[in-house]
Amino acid sequence: MSTRSLAAALLLAAAPLAAFAAPAEVGQPAPDFTLADLDGKPVRLSDLKGRIVVLEWFNPGCPYVVASHTRGSLVDAAARASKQGVTWLAINSGAPGKQGAGLEVNRAARAEWKLAHPILLDEAGTVGRAYGATNTPHLFVIDAAGRLAYRGAVDNSPDGERGAPEGGTLVEYAAVAVADLLAGRPVKVASTKAYGCGVKYAK
């Protein structure tokens, strides 16, 4: 192999890493991706341009996710957003064999929690790393122009069940960000610290 072709090969190999070297920044274009849902149907983010999109990092084995979906701010959150014309996508970046990973356990959660929105599997963790998703749940709101408008916690109650809001008043950050976008306002709180389990990435 010549030096030039070796360099080209190295560049191609490094390209995906370079593209996702730094996590997505608020105000910048949201990294595009194509992932399959639990029925094998591909979902491409760029096909949703013109719509507000919420990405929810998901792990049905994580107790924070369980609490959020059974007693917390994620109960019916996707359905409520859908009624406002917002697309909600859950993404599971758990590696095979890790807690909450795999088709069956995610299908079971979808049925138990009556989730109508797609749950996308990102077993390689590429999309999770591109967004800098660290926790489950971890929410990202993308505006109609495809820019990241919010990243962080679903709310300010780090017990996952709305019982311990910081400052005493519950704030559903992601829902507020969506409301700001729908009203044509700048998102007032564009970044918060996510709480919950760590994303179970492949090592």
Partner: protein, 157 residues
């Protein structure tokens, strides 16, 4: 027939009676949850200070120890939810528990395995009883547990 069954019945009653007596609360007493509970990943215990005086604010301690590779999840808002058996008054229905003291995990100095959580309360008149549910979380690198554990304690006379 009845005559033949009587000794057997008596034997059964003799066997069961002490266990029933041990489990039953004395007349007028209130059965409380245990003051200490444990699982593979943690132990938790509720301790009352002494002495206590009616109307004078006091602080109980909930001692949580993570084990079996777990550490205390300090990001989780640990809390205590008193129940109707408590004779003290609290600042609300869900009391945030502040970390009063902490200790590292053996061999893992960056992680916390022991915490003393402060539970403020004000004793009422009569014998002081605390009873309720402790909410806390312990984690390993791979998984977190969120626990809701009943705890109770009664002040010595």
């Amino acid at each position: 027939m009845a005559h033949r069954l009587a000794p057997a019945l008596a034997a059964i009653l003799l066997t069961v009676a002490p266990a029933m007596a041990a489990d039953a609360a004395p007349s007028g007493a209130v059965a409380l949850p245990p003051s200490r509970q444990e699982a593979a990943a943690w132990t938790v215990a509720l301790e009352l200070p002494s002495p206590l005086r009616a109307g004078v604010p006091a602080t109980a301690t909930i001692r949580l120890t993570a084990r079996a590779g777990h550490h205390v999840n300090l990001e989780y808002p640990a809390a205590f939810k008193p129940d109707e058996r408590a004779t003290a008054t609290f600042s609300g229905g869900r009391i945030p528990l502040a970390v009063a003291a902490s200790g590292p995990c053996p061999g893992r100095p960056g992680e916390t395995c022991e915490v003393a959580l402060a539970l403020p309360f004000t004793p009422g008149a009569g014998r002081t009883r605390l009873s309720g549910t402790a909410l806390f979380s312990v984690c390993t690198a791979e998984r977190c547990l969120i626990e809701r554990i009943a705890l109770g304690a009664e002040a010595a006379k």
